[in-house]
């Protein structure tokens, strides 16, 4: 009653605390979408020179030569960077999703209390490590490891497959995917754990009452109930992986090349932007091309989010309470 009165009086007199709250929250709610729109506008605006110069060819050519030997205009194509971004992101999800799910299930369902706290703490520490530190560790620890124990072994056993062909330096898409996986695991597993914890106990109890084992309970009651949330976790991790810059730049080899082999160097959209942005002065088309890469990246993550959302909506109705 009292609150209703307060609301009425605030409507009468205007600037009461409650309406101030409305205004403040309203501003906050509007600000973020506005920033997003402005961001897209600015990036789009910046990429106009490149769009005018290359049109759709930008998306389908793979040459990258900002200063051609003949002194002509830059010859730029985004395909290798797009390819590298997609491959490293998919690789990172292949590595990270099963592990994240395992970590989340363990923490939410199986771990005794005394183990859960340190386990939570350590996994979340992974998210607190700055990306450039991952890059350094990647270059000085992961790259030699991959070269000696992973790339060389795969190359000698499965080298007949195109994806495991070529020189095994440890610098390339496979290592980039690996380091991305380590970086996104805390994000994915944290969301997944929350979702799994949110599954009502009654579901589990019902399952157990029917004589199900722990694993059967997880399989038949917990995971189906939580699947929309699990996919949301994967989408979040994917967004993080596709935009990661520093760590990837340090281990991927930064070469504008499209090759099927996962061992060989490549580049991703963020790594190209990070590498080339500092030296881009006074060259409209070149700068525009970097902006357009940003636009493409924006589009790619938008698309991924959209797909994730569609999947969630498809699955969602089955789990509505």
């Amino acid at each position: 009653m009292q609150t209703q009165q307060a609301r009425r009086s605030s409507q009468k007199h205007g600037a009461s605390p409650s309406s101030l709250l409305h205004i403040a929250l309203g501003i906050a709610a509007v600000a973020i979408p506005v920033i997003t729109v402005l961001l897209v506008y600015e990036i789009g605006n910046g990429s106009i020179p490149s769009i005018q110069a290359y049109g759709l060819n930008f998306l389908f050519t793979s040459d990258w030569d900002p200063f051609p030997a003949n002194g002509g205009p830059p010859i730029l194509g985004a395909l290798p960077a797009m390819y590298g971004s997609v491959v490293t992101t998919v690789l990172s999800l292949i590595f990270a999703v099963p592990i994240s799910l395992g970590v989340a299930l363990f923490q939410a369902e199986l771990a005794p209390r005394s183990v859960r706290a340190p386990s939570l703490f350590l996994v979340e520490m992974l998210a607190a490590v700055p990306s450039v530190v991952y890059g350094l560790w990647g270059l000085f620890a992961l790259v030699p490891f991959m070269r000696v124990y992973v790339d060389a072994q795969l190359g000698s056993k499965l080298g007949f497959l195109p994806i495991f062909a070529g020189q095994t330096d440890g610098i390339g898409m496979l290592t980039a995917g690996m380091i991305l996986a380590i970086m996104i695991i805390p994000y994915a597993s944290s969301v997944m754990r929350e979702v799994i914890s949110a599954v009502p106990t009654s579901q589990r109890e019902a399952c157990t009452a029917l004589g199900a084992t722990k694993w059967e309970t997880i399989k038949t009651a917990v995971l189906p109930f939580a699947r929309t949330g699990l996919i949301a976790g994967i989408v979040l991790a994917m967004g993080r992986a596709i935009g990661e810059t520093m760590a990837v730049t340090m281990v991927i080899g930064n070469v504008a090349r499209i090759s099927p082999s996962l061992f060989l160097p490549a580049e991703t959209i963020p790594s190209v932007i990070a590498n080339e942005f500092t030296e881009v002065a006074g060259n409209g088309v070149y700068l525009g091309a970097l902006f357009e890469l940003g636009l493409i990246l924006f589009g790619m993550s938008f698309l991924m989010n959209l797909v994730g959302r569609v999947i969630i909506n498809r699955l969602g109705f089955k789990t509505k309470q």
Binding site: D63, W64, D65, P66, F67, P68, A69, N70, G71, R113, S114, A117, P118, L120, F121, L122, E124, L139, F140, V143, P144, R147, G166, Q167, D169, G170, I171, S190, R193, E194, T249, M250, G253, N254, V255, A256, R257, L264, P265, E267, S271, A274, N275, E276, T278, E279, V280, A281, G282
Partner: protein, 447 residues
């Protein structure tokens, strides 16, 4: 968020459990630290052979002496004698004003000279406590862009400005403030090459490696110029810069100068399209920054790369000797780079101080080197941020850089400017003005 949740659940629980949980977390943290220490000591013991080798690796000076090809008397030259031979002009300490007004100046640009410029700003502040100069190493391109837009007081660039870039910034001028060499560095110790072995490279071999036609270390072209060295059969990984860079500019400028195919197919710029990246069966790798290239070479057996001299020295990597214009294989040292600078620049024209010193004449000149430049407006009033007072301080700072400031070069592995370049710089700096009023007194020229 989750940390909060843990903390909240913790605070709700009885204190005994609470305590155990803290203990567990503490134990885990200690275990991590212990694990890290153990891992470290294991890594050390496993690489003890290479560690002992790196002990035999040398200090900067002994690298210089051990890789010097001839003229042992030159090798004995100490750093200070390099200094004195380089800057024969009098130190300007006596002619500099005793005090300067309190101003703050801002510069931005190249990363390559950044350690030296930052040392200068500190030293200048100690001499004139009122003068605060900050320098942001954002890259040469960024430096050119910012000085063109007049958002900084001075810029710095490794590559000389093109005519187009000058046209975009009317009134802009430049002068070289230091120079550095680019070393060819390689990692072959894991493949059995003795530590400290100096490999010889001809320009054509370097071109072959970077355009993907020479793919193995035991290629006849490399073997022919390295008699007596057992070269491994392994593949070459050609490492280059992935970011735009003055180092790449100097390196590709050299390759264009000595190889006509490279000049027409690749050319020279702060970043180029490396043929080795897309050549079949060859392996090119890009790395960000000098440190990135040095790190990648150090981590990759069979890799070759090009870095500013100091990075090759600091990382204990092999440093190659390069065939120069006179037909000698010369290793990069401060002295051989200085010789190149002295021989290549002749009498520079003070009105256009863009200098090319790759492939310089002279028996012991190291062929891959580059000047790096300060950018400023000749009429400093064109820059709206500069008052006449600030402009004068900036002009004195420039003057001090090429005189007193040069003594800090060798300690940071930069080469002091040769006397002929200092003289040309002096001429240029005396033309700096503020709406026609000369900023530096001509009496500064005592030599």
């Amino acid at each position: 968020m989750n940390v909060c949740r843990i903390l909240m659940t913790m605070s709700k629980e009885p204190s005994k459990q609470n305590k155990t949980r803290y203990i567990i977390i503490a134990v885990v943290i200690i275990a991590i630290i212990a694990g890290a220490v153990a891992y470290q000591s294991m890594a050390n013991s496993s690489s003890s052979s290479s560690a002992s080798q790196s002990q035999t690796m040398m200090s900067v000076s002994s690298i210089m002496s051990s890789t010097e090809m001839t003229s042992s008397s030159a090798t004995m030259m100490s750093v200070s004698s390099i200094m004195s031979s380089a800057t024969s002009s009098p130190m300007a300490g006596g002619t500099m004003p005793a005090t300067l007004p309190t101003v703050a100046l801002l510069g931005a640009g190249a990363t390559f000279p950044a350690p030296l410029i930052q040392t200068w700003t500190v030293q200048f502040n100690q001499m004139y406590s009122g003068v605060t100069i900050s320098y942001n190493p954002i890259g040469s391109g960024g430096g050119i862009q910012q000085i063109t837009r007049k958002t900084v007081d001075f810029g710095a660039s490794d590559a000389p400005l093109s005519n187009t870039q000058f046209a975009a910034a009317p009134g802009l001028t430049l002068f070289p403030e230091t120079l550095g060499g680019v070393a060819i560095t390689y990692n072959l110790v894991p493949f059995g090459l003795a530590n400290g072995t100096v490999l010889n490279f001809t320009p054509n071999v370097i071109v072959g490696i970077y355009n993907g036609t020479i793919t193995h270390w035991n290629d006849p072209a490399i073997a022919a110029i390295n008699p007596g060295v057992t070269l491994p059969i392994n593949l070459i990984t050609a490492v280059h810069r992935s970011d735009g860079s003055g180092t790449t500019y100097a390196f590709t400028n050299f390759l264009s100068d000595v190889n006509v195919n490279w000049a027409t197919e690749v050319g020279y710029a702060t970043s180029v399209k490396w043929p080795v990246d897309i050549a079949m069966n060859a392996n090119g790798v890009g790395a960000k920054g000098n440190a990135g290239v040095a790190g990648t070479v150090a981590q990759t057996p069979g890799a070759i790369g090009y870095v500013d001299l100091i990075y090759a020295v600091q990382n204990h990597l092999g440093v190659g000797a390069v065939l120069n214009a006179a037909g000698n294989y010369v290793s990069p040292t401060l002295q051989t780079i200085l010789w190149a600078a002295q021989n290549a620049t002749g009498t520079p024209n003070p009105s256009d101080l863009r200098l090319h010193i790759v492939n310089a004449q002279g028996a012991q000149s190291y062929p891959i080197a580059t000047y790096t430049y300060m950018l400023t407006y000749k009429d400093m009033s064109l820059n709206p941020d500069l008052t006449q007072q600030k402009a004068q301080v900036l002009a004195y700072f420039f003057w001090w850089e090429i005189h007193g400031g040069q003594q800090y070069s060798t300690g940071l592995d930069y080469v002091p400017l040769p006397a002929n370049v200092v003289a040309a710089d002096e001429q240029m700096l005396l033309t700096l003005n503020y709406q026609g009023t000369q900023l530096l007194p001509s009496s500064l020229m005592t030599g």
